[in-house]
Symmetry: C2
Subunit: 314 residues, 2 copies
């Protein structure tokens, strides 16, 4: 019968809890759990939806919950936290001291959740994951880590920065994407069976939407399984990033000193950034994208008018 | 250069306004606009996201806006309206008199939006679209119609029920899915160039997420273009639905009297519904899904315990 449902399930969607969970989705979620060393994983239509509906659900369903959110968290996390209706404290970007000051102000008995990213995509910096986990232990908080810009690219199996640092077991939920290093589309969370089942049973953005097509699930699983067993791509990326950084610095380009694979070059003017990227494509066959508002806040480029800031090479 | 970007754009995502809008997305949006006789269309990662982020954006960005929402609207519309923060009035399902009573109570000068569906998926009934448009004209309201369960299946080109009734021009925004009749995944809105551009420029669920893969966009376009030019599938579906309804009624099964292709059979008990659908699959190779809470509200099956209600044949 399982096979019969698989066969029937290869067409379009249906919601995951009615007709959309095919054998391919089950296998993909098993691979994702293994990728992060967790008991379970849950796949969503996008990384945006994974963040929005997971955080909205946790913040809403944990009675009296308080969420602590890094100041530079992605829009999808901000939206989820806001939509949860939970009390929110925004701490200074990557700043454990400020996070601790804010944790201290809240009643120790209230449930707490700390939401942050590993690699921040706009500046390429990486968060102090271990320090945040120490604080979570000390103040009894859940940890929610967005590894969207790290999965596939960091860690011995491509599980992300937490894995590379040997601390992925300290994160309660790890969120990631199937749409960047894994080359498909979709998002997920991985964690304990109980927490994943809690989100599965309560998150509207999971329950009331169509499943990813099985072909996408199968493609993502193939990518994940390959990158879990091959270090060559990660090594090649590191090598190329090092060369790009070295060459840009050598010619004196205004490079942000990032510790990740993200190499932001600050331009500071929208039309100039566009001109630069157009020239790179036309003359040199190099494709980089100008990043402007609203991807980066206007305030971040306030010194330039019109707002614009960088070309970015990944 | 367009071709160069197309070539580069066939890998995974990037957000639509950075790297994700390939030639395939542009062609798909042109097809969707043509499907509904509108100036423009915008594709999202899912129908859920299309509803949530479009309604949230419209309700938030139109100053002092009031939204009128059908009582049985889908969770994605409810979420978008709630997340917009706009004042909301819920009118009785498919009831123009109640909608008018609620429109009357609101200051004529405030911007208004009426949000409703054409085919409601749980009972299979269809809304009085023309009457709602009359009221929208009288009270100066925008109309937002979810045709998710109708696109591909109704109308001379598969544009939905509004098209079948010759009134699609009266809807300001039509929302639909690429994941049901069109057999892929994704969602969209279609409307005037100005309204679509307004959502494109402001909706977080569009801006901060990954584009659908070009292969999905191409597949959806192939489905749409086929169903815009072929009536055979719509006729076959109507014929088969009529036969199913006739046979179920002939043997006295408790069939809801739906006017659409959706054929709900009320069971009223969750475990019994599961038993029935298991037997149909095992003994007769017929695959139908039991529909339980939270897909339908507990209150809808309050006469039975545990909550469950129907098998559904589409």
């Amino acid at each position: 019968m399982h096979q019969a449902i698989d066969r029937l399930g290869t067409g379009a969607g249906g919601t995951r809890n009615i007709a959309g969970t095919t054998h391919e989705h089950v296998l993909l979620e098993q691979s994702l759990a293994a990728l992060h060393g967790k008991q379970a994983a849950l796949v969503f239509t996008s990384g945006y939806v994974a963040n929005e509906t997971s955080l909205a659900t946790l913040g809403k369903m944990m009675p009296n919950c308080v969420i602590f959110s890094d100041a530079l968290n992605h829009n999808s996390m901000i939206a989820g936290i806001r939509n949860s209706g939970a009390e929110k404290h925004v701490f200074r970007h990557n700043d454990p001291a400020d996070l601790e000051a804010k944790l201290k102000q809240v009643d120790p008995k209230r449930p707490k959740l700390i939401a942050f990213e590993s690699v921040y995509s706009m500046d390429g910096d990486i968060s102090p994951i271990a320090e945040f986990c120490d604080l979570a232990d000390r103040y009894g908080a859940f940890t929610y880590l967005d590894e969207v810009h790290a999965v596939g690219m960091y860690g011995r199996r491509g599980g992300g920065v937490a894995q590379e640092r040997g601390i992925e077991h300290r994160l309660h939920l790890i969120q990631g994407t199937l749409g960047k290093a894994f080359g498909m589309v979709g998002g997920y969370i991985a964690g304990s069976a109980a927490m994943v089942d809690f989100v599965r049973s309560n998150a509207p953005g999971f329950i009331f939407t169509t499943a990813l097509p099985p072909v996408i699930a199968a493609g993502a699983r193939a990518s994940i399984n390959h990158l879990m067993n091959s270090e060559a791509e990660r090594q090649a990326q590191r090598d190329r990033v090092a060369v790009v950084k070295q060459r840009l610095a050598a010619v004196g380009l205004p490079l942000l000193d990032s510790e990740s694979h993200i190499v932001p070059v600050m331009i500071g003017d929208a039309s100039l950034a566009k001109q630069v990227t157009d020239l790179l494509l036309e003359r040199h066959d190099i494709y980089v994208q100008p990043i402007n508002y609203p991807t980066v806040p206007r305030a971040r480029s306030a010194f330039a008018s019109p707002p614009a800031r960088c070309i970015r090479m990944r």
